[in-house]
């Protein structure tokens, strides 16, 4: 019982931890306690783009206000002096940021300064600031200086990304390009390791690391192990001592960190998907939990000479407070459509209830007999009125999801994404294909050239033996006819040749999807989501390669794929990299980190996998988050030598 509680506490989501850390920072580095009759304190928040990316998925502007922040400004913007106000800085310790901060000190913009660095600042840079503070006679104004170790972005309770601003630096392309120099590689690896280190400091646990051999992941593992080890040895400054971990946090087991390289599975990032969150990411403009929609104003019969209607842009935040999103982000799309319909109906019912009360109240003056109803109704009215804000919020969410889902549905219908999804699932699970690949590629109605390219690449990646030259030429011709750029194929060919040497690309599992017929009952209820012609496909649980690897390592199963993974334990006194794990028990907690980029499909797969297992938790992280479009672009750049 205690261990279960401890385990859940330890897995207390990374999002919560980061939010708590941010709130403490905003409260002048003192733990934040809510006090309803406390005096207001006000402050100004200054951040750089990194800080902005970290804060925006976690705290809304209203929450910032609640913490007493009157203004939040970018570091490198024009800022006016505001007297008598403490300023909280949350920036990366880069050269230009430090210069700007020194400038602020010299210009005496604020009353006092609370400096917080996202990752640890070097001694020399600290001296630069000290110098500037001395020159400006502002040393006493610098009230506190902190290293926050928050250099990662948390998107979900159990998902994190390393960075958004400089993702080119650590992108798949950056790591895998042939002309990379050693020093450049070192820089990339250092950036990744720094963020991972911050992640583990915030999580408060030292993991056991496993990684495959001969990949970028291995480099990361070696460096991370070294960094953790150094920090643990330094007893005075160790960040992992017991008191920093907090009570109830310690699970009896340490978590497992599985470092995988993107190259073990290139098909998943290209895959067309069918779950809500992954679809939104694939098809719409979605990042840092914000989706941007361009709404077309429908059929425009504007009279000649009138100004054309402008498309309005809308953006929505998909947050943890949004209950519908939390419930349905992993559901297959038809289910989502149905649920929106249901929510809409229940909302309308509640609305009617309120309206009915209104009409009953109208009887009040006329009828004596109504007075007896009245006592009941006053209570009802009070509850109705007090529940109005809730109703309004619900309406807002329903509107939001209706808009988002409609946008997604339009894409699906236009590009026939359901057909692609089904076909790719079949390819990936090696069942027989009822339609030839060539047909789909040559079909002018189905999908954009990019979709076709994705489909072909998945086929190419997943087949055991490469298609013959003649076939290949045929495909190439069909693809070029459809308007595709063939550069990604170049790269994939090379990749395939390379990985063939290592091991055969792992199979994707043996189950299939079952199309459930053309129309769902959604159509029958006359909903807005007219899904005619769209198949109601049911997702079958099948484990993607990453999930399989995790399963093997977490459950200590023996499998040729993972048996020769390296093993690192930073807490062990003597660093030995034997492949023999000392720990024979299955792990309760694991963190999967993909070096080279990841996406929501993998995340969803892991979430589904762990749902079935009681008491186990997984966190998913990747160096960058891309959708298929972005990934194809990178592949094409790589193929373009």
């Amino acid at each position: 019982m205690a261990s279960a509680a401890a385990a859940t506490a330890a897995a207390a989501s990374i999002r919560e931890r980061q939010t708590v850390a941010l709130k403490r920072m905003l409260n002048f580095n003192v733990p934040h306690i809510k006090n309803s009759t406390g005096e207001p304190v006000w402050k100004v928040l200054i951040y750089d783009r990194f800080g902005q990316d970290i804060i925006s998925p976690l705290l809304s502007v209203k929450e910032l206000r609640d913490m007493g922040i009157t203004l939040h400004l970018l570091l490198h913007s024009d800022r006016d002096p505001i007297p008598d106000v403490p300023a909280v800085y949350f920036v990366m310790p880069t050269e230009e940021n430090i210069d700007r901060m020194c400038q602020d000190l010299r210009n005496q913009l604020y009353e006092s300064y609370y400096l917080n660095f996202i990752s640890a600042i070097s001694r020399s840079k600290l001296e630069d600031i000290a110098n500037a503070a001395l020159a400006a006679s502002a040393v006493t104004q610098v009230a506190k200086v902190f290293d926050q170790y928050l250099n990662f972005i948390t998107l979900e309770d159990d998902m994190f990304v390393l960075c958004n601003q400089n993702k080119e630096l650590v992108s798949y392309r950056a790591i895998n390009r042939p002309d990379i120099t050693d020093t450049e590689m070192e820089t990339v690896m250092d950036t990744i390791v720094d963020s991972l280190f911050c992640f583990f400091v915030t999580l408060g646990a030292v993991p056991i690391i496993r990684c495959s051999r001969g990949t970028a992941a291995e480099m990361v593992a070696v460096k991370l192990d070294k960094k953790l080890r150094e920090n643990l040895r330094d007893a005075r400054n160790s960040l992992f001592t017991g008191d920093t971990l907090g009570a109830g946090q310690f699970s009896f087991q340490r978590p497992l960190l599985v470092l995988v390289d993107r190259n073990i599975d290139l098909a998943t990032p290209l895959h067309h998907t069918w779950t809500y969150q992954a679809l939104v990411h694939d098809v719409l403009d979605f990042h840092l939990n914000r989706v941007n929609l361009e709404e077309s104003s429908g059929v425009e019969n504007s009279p000649a000479g009138a100004r054309p209607k402008r498309k309005s842009k809308k953006s929505y935040d998909l947050t943890p407070v949004d209950k519908f999103w939390q419930k349905h982000k992993g559901s297959p799309f038809p289910e989502v459509a149905e649920s929106v319909q249901q929510e809409l109906e229940s909302y309308r019912a509640q609305e009617d209830e309120v309206k009915r009360l209104k009409s009953i109240m109208g009887l009040e003056g006329e009828d004596e007999g109504a007075i007896s109803m009245l006592s009941d109704n006053t209570a009802k009215l009070t509850s109705a009125v007090s529940s109005l804000p809730e109703l309004l919020e619900k309406k807002r969410l329903i509107d939001l999801h209706t808009n988002v889902a409609t946008a997604v549905l339009e894409h699906i219908k236009a590009r026939k994404l359901d057909v692609y999804f089904e076909y790719e699932e079949k390819i990936m699970s090696k069942t027989t294909l009822d339609k030839s690949l060539l047909d789909i590629i040559s079909d002018p109605d189905a999908g954009t050239p990019e979709d076709k390219m994705r489909l072909f690449l998945i086929y190419y990646i997943s087949t055991q033996q490469a298609p013959s030259e003649a076939d290949l030429e045929q495909y190439k011709k069909a693809l070029t006819d459809a308007g595709c750029n063939l550069n990604p194929l170049q790269y994939i060919k090379q990749w395939k040749a390379f990985t063939k040497m290592a091991s055969a690309p792992a199979s994707y599992g043996s189950t299939t999807t079952k199309p459930m017929g053309l129309l769902s009952r959604v159509m029958n209820t006359g909903s807005q989501f007219v899904m005619e012609g769209v198949k109601n496909l049911v997702l079958k649980q099948q484990n993607l390669p990453v999930t399989r690897i995790l399963d093997n390592l977490m459950e200590m199963k023996s499998n040729p794929e993972t048996d020769d993974y390296r093993y690192f334990d930073p807490k062990m006194l003597r660093g030995n990299d034997s492949s023999v794990p000392r720990n024979k028990n299955p792990f309760q907690e694991a963190i999967v980190f993909v070096v080279g980029g990841g996406n929501y499909i993998e995340y969803q797969n892991l979430v589904d996998y762990i749902k079935g297992k009681q008491g186990k938790h997984i966190l998913y992280g990747c160096s960058e988050l891309f959708n298929a479009t972005q990934f194809i672009k990178q592949l094409s750049q790589l193929g373009q030598k």
Partner: protein, 308 residues
């Protein structure tokens, strides 16, 4: 886990100082660093706005402390039989109410004043935004403290209403009626606030105690030696009838009371909403006025066109 490197920073400052001295670099301040800092800082605009804002906050804080301090006594009502120490007369309560109200009014006026002044001198957008936000915070604080006040006031008003109601059932020309009704009151009072319990229980007793001697004299004054059995029966029936009437009256009154409380809550909610909408309606009004003007100008421009 964040690491506090403030000490490291201060150490760096010392290092830099000594290094600069060694290199002979002139530092703004040098040895008299601290003194010079103080000197340097005084000519800085002390921030008229923020010092006044802080004044308002401290006022509100005083109000809050004042209310909290006397809250226990204020609420602990009708402590006739309690010790002198914890007692508070009604006049004192009225005084507190009045003072609190004056205080709140002054505070909100001060906030309004600050608002109008805040935007006058300053041209920077950021400072304006900051000040608006600060004033919002202060207003919010005031609202929270006022809530304290209104809560305890509501309790007090409720008590007064109850007390009045009880005292209306004061001595009737029948000991039995009064006894039975007041005992009924006593038995029903446990269903009210627990705080009121000792009060209401004591109260009817007090009424009884007070009016017993009264009745005695009055009874004597009637001058009848005994009541005939028929009259006794009649009186008894009347008693029963009166008891029934009182009960039903009482029930109805309670119901109405409940409804009135809820209506008052609704009123509160509605007032809040209406006030919120006021601001929005004002802005809509402005927009509409602006739009009408724009349209007028547009029409005039159009009219000019054929004349070209």
């Amino acid at each position: 886990m964040a690491v506090d490197i403030t000490l490291l920073f201060r150490a760096s400052v010392k290092t830099v100082k000594t290094r600069n001295k060694a290199l002979g670099v002139a530092v703004g301040g040098g040895v008299d660093g601290s003194r010079d800092e103080l000197f340097r800082r005084s000519p800085r605009p002390k921030g008229d706005f923020s010092s006044r804002a802080r004044e308002v906050i401290s006022h509100i804080g005083k109000l809050r402390d004042f209310l909290l301090e006397h809250r226990k006594d204020y609420i602990n009502a009708y402590s006739h039989t309690m010790s002198e120490y914890g007692r508070m007369t009604d006049t004192e309560r009225d005084q507190i109410d009045q003072d609190a109200q004056i205080f709140m009014r002054t505070c909100s006026e001060a906030i309004q004043q600050l608002r109008t002044e805040a935007h006058k001198e300053i041209h920077s957008q950021q400072v304006k935004e900051h000040r608006t936000a600060v004033l919002d915070f202060i207003e919010d604080y005031l609202k929270r403290v006022c809530k304290l006040y209104s809560e305890q006031r509501a309790i007090r008003v409720k008590r007064v209403v109850d007390k009045k109601r009880l005292s209306k059932l004061e001595p009737e020309p029948n000991t039995k009626t009064r006894e039975s009704t007041s005992s009924e009151k006593v038995s029903q009072s446990p269903s009210k606030d627990s705080e009121e319990n000792p009060a209401t229980e004591e109260h009817p007793e007090k009424i009884l105690a007070e009016t017993q001697p009264e009745l005695g004299t009055w009874g004597d004054g009637k001058g009848e030696d005994e009541l005939s059995p028929e009259e006794i029966q009649m009186f008894e029936q009347e008693n029963q009838r009166l008891i029934g009437e009182m009960n039903s009256l009482f029930d109805e009154v309670r119901q109405i009371e409940g409804r009135v409380v809820e209506i008052s809550r609704l009123q509160e909610i509605f007032t809040e909403k209406v006030l919120q909408q006021e601001a929005e309606i004002d802005s809509i009004h402005q927009l509409v006025v602006g739009a009408t003007e724009n349209i007028k100008e547009g029409n005039e421009d159009i009219r000019e066109v054929p004349h070209l």
